[in-house]
């Protein structure tokens, strides 16, 4: 099948529109669908009519790029619904295509329109003698996904910097390479096309620190997969494997600024050291290279050893981890590279979908790193007070008593009674104690423990006091003080009844303890303050089936909340005041009262179960509790802000 297209005969060289920005060269109206759609031109071969020369032959790499897009969620076969257009003409390497034919070939494309919304993949731009950092083809307004940009040719927010791919990387086994400080050389220099003056600098450096630098060159011939040390004791090394011997590996400027060495280095988990001034690093828009690479100016090359030696071993390990993370997530094969590049463009067109820099750069797997969603914790002078959320079933008498006690707490803003009984209507509001604070009753549809943590719109304060209907012993001073403590630690769970988890070596399981001990790791939500955000997270973002499980078993909702907050913040809970009895003066242990051994066993099982779901034990143990500053001080009562504190 042969198709013919009329081409312009005038082929004056314009290059590209250097002034393109996202805001004027990208036709946003083509992208008004809610998703990014990319159309791929049919695979065609462009021939010069006279000489039969081909404009470009398809490379394996470009085929993979096309194939990736084709199979991705971005692909559309309908040019009318496409936002972006991907020519099938392979322009990856300017040495491999005919730059005089490429321009006319592009402009012959059906929807070319001076390159508007077209994507040009290119890894090696320019050609002898001056090696431009942008390909010498009339690409007009097209977006370049280029591997060889310097900061002059890169159009920020419009082009995308991609890595120069290396076919050697494809052959590397996927076996993980271990991080560590035990690598033989501080620096491996194995780039073949290193600038001669840089090579000279390394020779000089080697004179003083030969054991730190491994400098390798070509073994003769056209071989890429081996590197040799220099005569007279020439040794041959397998490449890129040899890069594993270096803590750091060097990439310098050559004829082109982008080099395949970068990706080879990272594939061997070696930390790249770049000496290419104004080179735009791959995916620089989103990747924070300061975490994974060392950059130095070309003119500072002589200080490279000093600079690398000043890096702490902790930092080296962090960088190795980051190199591995970046490589596996954004660079490891052409598919990953292509998808990453498209995602960057997508996030420009649909900025709402954009990941933040933290999301792009944080190594999350197998680590305890976290992002505390309540990070604005500075104390403000004005206080909103708290909403007391009382979960109750039918203990009306106790409930009314509690309400009366709560209402005198100065910082109480309002009370919300969650009536968790479907068989019985809650008592009429008129029968409730008359109080000066707003009170609302919500009857739930199902008797579920998670109702306690539902983020009811009726809760207008940041702080929620969750409290059981039988916790009648807390004094007004204690509650008021508890709220003050919460204000100082608004991202923590702050409360009164505390518990501890301990590892039982005999059963190899976690064990739940309610004894009075020197340590705690949980504060029970039978009487505790927490930020309303945690209620939201509990209801909508609890990992695994924890929420469902808790509702099924009618137990452990408090443990689940402690896990949730600890996992998101890495913070311990805060126990307030010495109080350990909550229901009646005679009660010895709040938990032993309501439950038997079975209950305790179930709670131990909860801890075990939750820690498996989280993949770690997020709970943190502490040895302190919060008391008022003048607690137990011999001081006039009327000058003490909190007096009624401390009776157990």
């Amino acid at each position: 099948m042969e198709r013919e297209v009329l081409l312009h005969s005038d082929t004056e060289y314009r290059g590209r529109n250097a002034n393109c920005t996202f805001w004027d060269c990208l036709n946003i109206y083509k992208c008004e669908h809610d998703k990014l759609k990319v159309y791929i031109y049919p695979l065609q071969e462009f021939l010069d009519e006279k000489s039969d020369k081909v404009a470009s032959t398809l490379s394996s790499e470009y085929f993979q790029i096309l194939e990736t897009v084709l199979k991705s969620r971005y692909y559309t076969s309908n040019p009318n619904e496409a936002c972006l257009f991907l020519p099938s003409l392979d322009l990856l390497n300017q040495d491999m295509f005919d730059k005089h034919l490429a321009g006319p070939a592009l402009s012959s494309l059906n929807f070319w329109d001076r390159g508007e919304n077209h994507l040009i993949f290119n890894m090696l731009p320019g050609s002898a003698p001056n090696y431009n950092t942008i390909l010498d083809v009339n690409i007009d307004n097209a977006i370049v996904l280029g591997g060889g940009f310097d900061s002059w040719t890169y159009r920020p927010g419009f082009d995308v910097a991609i890595p120069v791919w290396s076919p050697l990387v494809q052959q590397i086994s996927t076996a993980p390479i271990h991080n560590g400080l035990h690598r033989n050389y501080l620096l491996v220099v194995a780039q073949l096309n290193i600038l001669p003056q840089h090579a000279r600098t390394f020779n000089e450096l080697k004179a003083n620190s030969a054991e730190k630098i491994l400098q390798l060159g070509s073994c003769g011939g056209n071989e890429i997969e081996a590197r040799c040390s220099s005569a007279p004791h020439q040794k041959r090394f397998e490449y890129p494997r040899i890069l594993r011997r270096g803590q750091f590996c060097f990439v310098g400027r050559s004829l082109r600024v982008g080099q395949p060495d970068l990706i080879e280095i990272m594939s061997q988990n070696c930390i790249p050291v770049l000496a290419i001034d104004n080179f735009v690093l791959p995916f620089e828009d989103v990747i924070d290279w300061s975490l994974a690479a060392v950059r130095l100016r070309e003119s500072e090359l002589h200080s490279i050893i000093r600079k690398l030696e000043s890096i702490s071993s902790v930092k080296i390990l962090e960088m190795q981890k980051q190199v591995q993370y970046l490589y596996t997530n954004y660079l490891k094969d052409l598919k990953t590279i292509t998808i990453t590049a498209l995602e960057i463009i997508e996030s420009r067109i649909f900025p709402l979908l954009a990941r933040s820099s933290r999301q792009w750069n944080t190594v999350n797997k197998n680590s305890h790193s976290t992002f505390n969603p309540i990070f604005l914790t500075s104390l403000v002078p004005k206080s909103q007070g708290f909403t007391a959320v009382i979960l109750t079933y039918d203990r009306v008498e106790s409930l009314f008593l509690l309400i009366q006690k709560l209402t005198v707490v100065p910082s109480l803003q309002s009370i919300l009674v969650i009536w968790n009984n479907q068989k019985k209507m809650p008592p009429h509001l008129s029968t409730f104690p008359t109080i000066a604070k707003p009170l609302k009753i919500i009857q739930t549809r199902e008797n579920k423990l998670s109702n306690r943590f539902y983020p009811y719109p009726e809760i207008e304060t940041e702080a929620i006091l969750t409290i059981d209907d039988d916790i009648i012993m807390l004094t007004s001073d204690e509650l008021d003080f508890g709220y003050e403590v919460w204000r100082e630690f608004p991202d923590h769970i702050v409360g009164f009844p505390s518990r501890i988890h301990v590892w039982d070596n005999s059963t190899m399981r976690w064990h739940y303890e309610s004894e009075w001990t020197n340590q705690i790791s949980m504060v029970l939500t039978g009487a505790a303050f927490h930020h309303k955000y945690w209620s939201h997270m509990y209801t909508y973002a609890m990992p695994g089936d924890i929420k469902h499980w808790v509702d099924e078993h009618m137990n452990c909702e408090d443990i689940a909340m402690n896990f949730l907050v600890a996992n998101l913040t890495n913070n311990p809970p805060i126990k307030v005041t010495p109080r350990k009895k909550f229901k009646c003066p005679e009660c010895t242990n709040t938990e032993m009262l309501s439950a038997d051994l079975n209950h305790m066993r179930e709670r131990s099982a909860c801890i075990d179960r939750f820690s498996k779901i989280y993949g770690r034990m997020p709970l943190r143990t502490v040895e302190f509790r919060a008391d008022p500053v003048l607690f137990r001080d011999n001081f006039p009562e009327k000058l003490k802000r909190y007096n009624d504190i401390g009776s157990l």
């Binding site: 198709r3 109206y29 065609q44 009519e49 993979q64 975490l291 914790t377 020197n518 302190f624 001080d633």
Partner: protein, 754 residues
């Protein structure tokens, strides 16, 4: 048609690639799982190959071959025009330090009048001159700041300085702008407001400019700064105005805008169409044409109606009560509104195509703002409605973090600009994105301290890490009473030795009396004891040289020098006469491990506002709250030693030196300034001094008055009062509980009263 053709397009049949290649015919590729290339070749015969394996690679040895000597000459010769650091900046001036020179004020002109210099430009210069960046020696300077006010380059403006080119030409170090920085808020004028039009050639100077566009900005060279108004504070400034962190935010309005529109001319289109979005309910978009002398002549037929609607809403009320605030371009790309919205915690919705946001190279605005597109104005309501409550919660908090850390004052804006430039210097470490975009931010994170956040107190929790183990006890000796088994110092060292977490003991001997002989000290067994005599000359590489004269005595601030001997994250700072038992040390240390960014210790003090004196008061009386924990017996992170020594204004250090007092108060202000949190007091103990040790400066009433005056000086230099009160103290879990003492871990603490 055919006759004109010079190129023929040939559709390549898929034959040479096997049939699976024809994806455009609707066939799916059958791709084998990734296998090493060699294996693919071998399996080629049986057909199960990856189609691309037979294609050539795009790269070959040719592109990687070793270079001949002459080939590099070609690329070196290629010359680029737009400035980059490598081409327009002399790094050799910045090797050791990053110092900034400010030109003296412009000489008077022939008529005897000084050229105008706006209040804001004066503030910029003051901020620099009073900072640690400043040098009065141009030979030592890395960066030069003009004495000529270049903020307003709108030739119609009152602040416009004339004859700038000739003034520049007269500058002794101008050198076509090399290593100079030019601050600018407005460029261009009516009618086109051309961004590049400064009225002079900035040459190779770095522009720190507001309203920059992607096109004009010299990538990696210029710095985009925010537009700030005439009353903007020099330092400190108001904190973010968000008073609550409710979830969901529940604001009355979803999106708001109140401002001028221009009817005609550049940039007018966007604001002119805003009325389409106004619904009077949750979207309030009100504009007015009533500005400028001749608005009546220029008005269009919407103006009257717009003005009526405009007057119904109050700007401040909208800011406080809206979740999102529209920030559309005006005549120029940036507007005051951006910072106003940021401060108010009203999430900016940007409607200013191609604008480079302030400090965009470092600040990840995705965490604090939303982008809209001027071309798609009508999509704005859908965009803001689609943003989840969680996202709003995070965005809103981040507006406050950024405001507080980088934008609250002119000083912060200038320092941030400097730090961005400084990170480009060859020997200065680059801070990570995470450091820049979380509290306490880059200005308070000195990357020269350590290359990993592991060694800093701020991000440990986020990294899922704890501080490194154990502490270094640093005892500051001022009196130096004779050392014997009954001396307070002797007992103190012995107590520390028994602590299970002590790494080593450092005694800083600042007393006039001679150092005690080695045998006089109590045995410390395996715990190293270092005694450092603090002589007249200060010590350590990073020492500030605050000297009032040749005979200047050593400053009491020396107790906070970042001594190399301190290898642990935790520093236990002690006065020589502190009386604490071992349990108290160990307990305070375990508390500190959970709050490594704060001061955790025993002697609590409080500050208060004294209405009668109209000044800050300082009290050591028992109160229900405290805001200071003195470093006479407290734990803190060793990073604060570094920050105290290398970051604090020299003015503050000088105050401490001259009074030989207040260093502990200053440390508290510093830490609270960094954390925005109070210190933590542990246990009931109030007195921590051995009263027997007479001659203590603490018994001197003047000492106390001096501390009060220090507090006021410090607050003035910080520009605000950083101290924050706390109502709680931390006690051991079973403290004073009626259980057997044998069950308690910290038994000695039970015996200590107030």
């Amino acid at each position: 048609m055919q006759a004109k053709k010079r190129y023929i397009l040939v559709f390549v049949s898929c034959a040479f690639l096997a049939i699976s290649f024809c994806y455009f015919g609707g066939y799916r590729l059958k791709v084998a799982p990734n296998r090493p290339r060699r294996a693919q070749h071998e399996s080629a015969k049986d057909g199960g190959i990856q189609p691309y394996a037979q294609l050539p690679s795009f790269i070959s040895f040719e592109q990687r071959k070793p270079l001949a000597n002459e080939s590099s000459a070609a690329i070196a010769a290629s010359k680029k025009n737009a400035c980059r650091m490598e081409s327009c900046f002399d790094f050799t001036k910045c090797y050791d330090q990053f110092l900034v020179y400010v030109y003296p004020p412009e000489p008077l002109n022939s008529l005897g009048a000084a050229p105008p210099s706006s209040a804001n430009y004066q503030k910029i210069l003051t901020a620099i001159q009073e900072s640690r960046y400043h040098t009065s020696d141009p030979a030592a300077a890395c960066l030069f700041v003009l004495g000529i006010d270049t903020l307003d380059r709108d030739s119609l403006s009152d602040d416009y300085v004339r004859n700038v080119p000739s003034r520049l030409a007269r500058l002794p170090h101008w050198n076509n702008g090399r290593n100079h920085i030019i601050f600018n808020l407005y460029s261009g004028t009516w009618p086109d407001y051309a961004e590049h039009s400064l009225g002079f050639d900035a040459g190779e100077a770095i522009l720190a400019k507001a309203s920059m566009s992607v096109l004009q900005m010299r990538h990696g060279f210029d710095v985009s700064i925010p537009l700030f108004h005439k009353q903007f504070p020099l330092r400190a400034g108001a904190t973010g105005s968000v008073q609550s962190n409710n979830f969901p935010a529940n604001k009355k309005y979803l999106l708001a805008f109140k401002g001028k529109r221009y009817v005609h001319g550049i940039g007018s289109e966007t604001r002119n169409s805003l009325f389409h979005l106004h619904n009077g309910r949750d979207m309030v978009m009100v504009t007015t044409c009533r500005h400028g002398k001749s608005w009546r002549e220029l008005q269009d037929n919407r103006c009257d109606e717009d003005n009526r609607e405009y007057d119904r809403y109050d700007y401040e009320t909208l800011l406080q009560n809206s979740t999102f605030c529209l920030v559309p371009r005006g005549r120029r790309l940036g507007s005051f509104r951006f910072l106003e919205a940021l401060q108010a915690g009203c999430i900016p919705v940007l409607l200013s195509n191609a604008w480079v946001l302030p400090f965009e190279s470092k600040i990840d605005w995705k965490q604090a703002a939303i982008w809209a597109d001027e071309r798609l104005l009508l999509q704005v309501p859908d965009i803001v409605r689609s943003i989840s409550a969680e996202r709003i919660f995070a965005l809103r908090q981040q507006t406050q973090v950024l405001w507080e850390r980088y934008f609250g004052s002119i000083e912060k804006i200038v320092f941030t600009t400097f730090e961005i430039i400084r990170e480009r210097l060859p020997d200065y470490p680059v801070r990570s994105n995470l450091i820049w975009n979380s509290s306490p931010g880059a200005l308070l994170t000195l990357p020269t301290f350590a290359d990993s956040s592991r060694f800093m107190p701020f991000l440990l929790n986020a990294m899922g890490m704890e501080p490194r183990h154990n502490y270094t006890a640093v005892i500051y000796v001022q009196i130096g009473a004779a050392l014997g088994p009954n001396a307070a110092l002797y007992k103190l060292v012995r107590t520390i030795t028994k602590s299970q977490f002590v790494d080593r003991i450092l005694v800083l001997w600042a007393a006039d009396r001679p150092l005690p002989l080695k045998k006089r000290w109590p045995p410390t067994f395996h715990i190293p004891l270092h005694v450092i005599a603090l002589g007249g000359s200060s010590r350590g590489a990073a020492t500030p040289t605050v000297q009032t004269g040749a005979e200047a005595r050593p400053s009491i601030s020396q107790r906070f020098l970042p001594y190399d001997e301190i290898q642990t994250d935790a520093v236990l700072s002690l006065d020589e006469d502190a009386i604490l038992n071992t349990d108290e040390l160990d307990f305070a240390y375990t508390v500190w491990r959970d709050f490594p960014e704060r001061i955790v210790g025993y002697p609590a003090r409080a500050h208060f506002w004294d209405d009668s004196k109209n000044a800050w008061g300082y009290t050591s009386k028992w109160t229900n709250y405290y805001s200071i924990v003195l470093t006479g017996a407290a734990f803190y992170h060793r990073y604060y030693n570094y920050l105290y020594t290398n970051w604090l204004s020299l003015l503050l250090l000088k105050t401490v030196q001259q009074s030989s007092n207040c260093e502990d108060i200053l440390m508290n202000l510093l830490v609270s300034h960094v954390t925005r949190k109070p210190p933590i007091k542990v246990t009931q103990r109030k007195g921590y001094k051995d009263r027997e040790t007479g001659r203590s400066p603490w018994n001197d009433p003047d000492h106390f008055i001096q501390r009060q005056s220090c507090l006021n000086t410090f607050a003035a230099v910080f520009g605000y009062m950083p101290l924050i009160r706390s109502n709680l103290r931390m006690d051991p879990m079973l403290y004073r509980d009626p259980v057997s003492n044998l069950r308690k871990k910290y038994r000695q603490i039970e015996l200590v009263g107030s």
